[in-house]
């Protein structure tokens, strides 16, 4: 699709444009109600993709305002507050892809505060991923290899020429770039030796009284300068050399391609899609922005609506955005969203292991499902929530009444072009005793009706998909 086609349709949008835009915004961002989607559809799909890929075109949100209105969190250095600020951005930022990519990279380079136990270091890693996530993989890996939280997480402080610690060397190959089966134990040992001396300048004990700034430091005296052989290359390799070698391996593009597809396209991506993304990674020298452009405009992406189970972050933030909550920094309670996502299985900045989160179907077990359903029901069942009342008012505009089936369809549309099977729609109507024509007034009563419909829709199976 080119912008010529977009201009031809610029004066109106079609249902299918809104549906496609809903899918793009759910995946590249955190979803939106129909009102916002209609405006985006007028701009045109390719324009919106371009805007998503260029967050710098849009103003940054002033996160610090949150602290003005939550003075109990002034100068709060805790990880919970960092994640709260991140959540506030996910809900309200005009640069959503930047924050979505931070989640992608964080899930791949899973580093957890439960071991790092230094909140500023965790925040710095998150900011590094946020600020570099659309750039080049080489840069990202170089910065990751110097990231104090990562260095501590994978024991680089204990990786010395005289006593090699393999943790980072192993996980760099196994989980962060190439994937198992594409290297040998000898490659792991070589990579570990190449990174000896890459450490942080904070030594134990790290703090008796507060957090000290941690910086990457390279200790030459700790570095193993002997020749290493890795993946067919031999030399006195240092850490950046290892990254260069990794980027030469076809396995790297395949591995990253697979993870980009699992995150953005579908839970079980097709080999053809993975290969296409991998080819673009190689052709663009691992330019993430160029690769995502190819991905978002591909047919395999456009055809993948609702083929992913929403992650807890997507479920919570998406539901909050639908309900129109926490749009203003003075709305209290936003920090409670953080443990909520944790109870659904995704505590940002605290993944269960270096392997990250098990996604797809594994987001759904009986405990998680109960949390997801209960959370969404509580938020969307509130008729005073700004998003819920806005949706109700839009449906009511210019109408005296609406037939029950059309009302359920209208709510599904307003929530963001959602879908629901015929049997489930009947269950919604019948459980709420919606029969015949439903009057659109008085407004309060109608908002209550719409809230109940939203709540019931959000309990469905289909609502777990995105």
């Amino acid at each position: 699709m080119t912008s010529v086609h977009s201009k031809a349709r610029s004066l109106r949008h079609s249902q299918s444009d809104v549906t496609l835009m809903a899918h793009l915004v759910r995946r590249a961002g955190f979803g939106a109600r129909a009102e916002e989607l209609e405006a985006l559809a007028v701009k045109g799909y390719d324009v919106v993709v371009d805007d998503l890929l260029h967050p710098e075109r849009f103003p940054d949100l002033d996160e610090d305002l949150l602290e003005r209105f939550h003075s109990e969190h002034s100068d709060d250095e805790s990880t919970g507050w960092t994640v709260t600020r991140w959540t506030y951005q996910m809900i309200n930022s005009k640069r959503p892809l930047q924050f979505k990519m931070a989640i992608f990279w964080h899930g791949l380079f899973a580093t957890a505060v439960s071991k790092v136990t230094n909140n500023p270091m965790m925040r710095d890693q998150y900011l590094m991923l946020r600020d570099n996530g659309l750039g080049n993989l080489r840069t990202i890996l170089q910065k990751l290899a110097r990231d104090p939280a990562m260095l501590y997480w994978l024991d680089q402080q204990q990786n010395h020429a005289a006593a090699v610690n393999e943790n980072w060397g192993r996980e760099l190959l196994e989980l962060f770039s190439m994937g198992r089966g594409n290297y040998t134990e000898d490659d792991v040992k070589a990579a570990a030796r190449a990174f000896t001396g890459w450490t942080i300048d904070q030594t134990f004990p790290r703090y008796p009284s507060g957090y000290y700034d941690a910086r990457f430091v390279y200790r030459e005296e700790d570095h193993d300068h002997s020749a290493k052989t890795m993946l067919g290359h031999t030399g006195d390799f240092n850490g950046d050399d290892v990254i260069d070698i990794i980027l030469k391996q076809p396995a790297t593009a395949q591995y990253l391609g697979k993870h980009l597809c699992k995150f953005f396209v579908e839970d079980d991506p097709e080999e053809a899609a993975i290969s296409a993304v991998a080819e673009t990674l190689v052709a663009s020298s691992f330019d993430i922005r160029a690769t995502l452009r190819m991905l978002f405009t591909s047919d395999f992406f456009k055809e993948a609506a609702f083929k992913k189970v929403k992650s807890p972050v997507e479920h919570v933030v998406g539901t909050v955005r639908t309900a129109g909550r926490y749009t203003d920094p003075w709305e209290g309670g936003i920090d409670a969203l953080v443990p909520t996502m944790g109870r659904m299985g995704q505590a940002l900045l605290n993944p269960p292991t270096v392997e990250g989160w098990h996604t797809g179907r594994e987001w759904i077990d009986s405990a998680y499902l109960i949390e997801r359903v209960n959370f969404a029901a509580e938020l969307l069942g509130d008729p005073t929530a700004p998003g819920v009342s806005a949706m109700a008012d839009r449906i009511a505009r210019g109408r005296r009444a609406v037939a029950a089936p059309a009302l359920v369809d209208a709510v599904l549309y307003e929530m963001g072009a959602l879908t629901l099977g015929a049997d489930d729609k009947a269950a919604v109507r019948e459980s709420l005793e919606l029969v015949g024509d439903i009057p659109c007034g008085p407004p309060d009563r109608f908002r209550e009706t719409v809230a109940r419909i939203c709540r019931t829709i959000s309990a469905s199976r289909q609502y777990q998909l995105g």
Partner: protein, 393 residues
């Protein structure tokens, strides 16, 4: 569906009035067996463990050559009462030193390929083939472990027992309408097959509804003198005790304790971990005994691998062969298999060499304790331990 139960040849537990219960406690991260059961009598021990070695005078000795870590006093007491079986040198062929892969191997009992079928998921399936009790398997903690997963087999995953349930925050009439809609929306498809994921979500939802109703009685019925510690493991085991004592028919319980990946700071971490485990497990069995409900419970403690023989100056890296424990009134306590030698010639690439396959321990539990056929669950025939499971007096 074929019934896996060994008709006529029942396990020691299965023949009694109270059906046998298995509690599996997973230590995540690769527990250092050499610091849990310390081989102070091995001439190489202190050479290889220059930094994290435990001085002989501190070890809680089991005999002249091995003993427990000094913080494990409650554990040692259970051992002295004959209730703890120590399975030394447990592992599997071609060990994998990746947490993710090795834990999956223990969870699926399949070292050679990646599968999603958990051994306990299959066990729950075989214990309750007609799916009459969705609470047959209950896992405590955040997220269902792969070990408990088997497609089509309901298992419950609970984070906190109190207040567990669907749409419990809605007012009365609203809740009824919402649960009514939920029940219909999650009903199995009548005419077409659901997609895999929709089928999974549907089954999960139905099981959640039924399970919540059954589980909510457990904390209501519970009363005890035992004061569990506040840490997550103790609270999980307390939850397990509550559900077990509520007698709703749960046969398999799962709990997890993390933090064992001691590449560094091992001298700080290891004692804290095993302090918690020793106390929590001791409190758990004391609670059960208080209610005369301990005699049909066996606990298995395992980890995905042991750690390297030589320490790295501050901790230990991933290894292979390790150890496991069985605890219970029906366990014949003592030392099983052999403590792997630390002699360099006998090591496996710098690790403890395993001398018994973990599927042997699984098979022992499946057949001798649970009264099931082991081969379908562990994908093969493995020699079982003799005399490890005994019938109660």
């Amino acid at each position: 569906m074929a019934d896996n139960r060994t008709n006529g040849k029942t396990g020691n537990g299965a023949g009694k009035a109270k059906p046998p219960v298995l509690v599996v406690l997973q230590l995540s991260g690769g527990n250092d067996f050499m610091s849990t059961v310390v081989p102070f009598g091995d001439p190489h021990y202190f050479d290889f463990r220059k930094t994290v070695g435990i001085p002989e005078k501190d070890v809680l000795k089991l005999n002249d050559s091995i003993g427990f870590h000094p913080v494990m006093k409650p554990f040692k007491q259970m051992y002295d009462e004959g209730k703890v079986a120590v399975i030394q040198g447990i592992g599997y062929p071609t060990p994998d030193r990746s947490h993710f892969r090795s834990m999956d191997i223990w969870h699926t009992a399949e070292p050679t390929k990646i599968i999603a079928d958990g051994w306990l998921g299959k066990t729950v399936r075989d214990l309750d083939p007609q799916k009459q009790n969705v609470c047959t398997g209950v896992s405590f903690g955040q997220g269902l472990p792969r070990a408990m997963y088997f497609s089509g087999t309901p298992v419950i995953s609970v984070a906190h027992l109190e207040g567990y349930g669907l749409l419990t925050s809605l007012p009365g009439t609203e809740q009824r309408a919402a649960v009514n809609a939920f029940t219909r929306m999650y009903a199995p498809e009548e005419f077409r097959e659901a997609s895999l994921v929709m089928g999974h979500i549907g089954q999960t939802g139905r099981d959640a509804l039924v399970g919540a109703d059954m589980l909510k009685v457990a904390p209501q019925k519970y009363s005890s003198n035992v004061e569990y510690a506040g840490d997550a493991l103790s609270q999980s085991l307390k939850g397990i005790a509550q559900v077990h004592l509520a007698d709703i028919g749960t046969r398999i319980f799962y709990a997890q304790h993390g933090g064992y990946d001691v590449h560094g700071s091992q001298l700080q971490s290891q004692p804290k971990l095993w302090s918690q485990v020793s106390r929590a497990v001791n409190d758990f069995f004391a609670d059960l005994r208080l209610h005369s409900a301990a005699d049909n419970v066996v606990m298995m403690i395992f980890s995905e691998f042991g750690r390297r023989v030589r320490d790295n100056g501050n901790g230990t890296d991933h290894g292979s062969g390790g150890g496991a424990f069985l605890i219970g009134d029906c366990v014949k306590g003592g030392l099983y298999a052999e403590y792997p030698s630390l002699a360099p010639a006998k090591q496996a690439s710098g690790d403890l060499a395993f001398n018994n396959d973990f599927r042997s321990l699984y098979s022992t539990l499946l057949e001798q304790w649970l009264g099931l056929q082991a081969a379908p669950v562990v994908n093969g025939a493995f020699e079982q331990f003799k005399g490890m499971i005994k019938s109660a007096a």
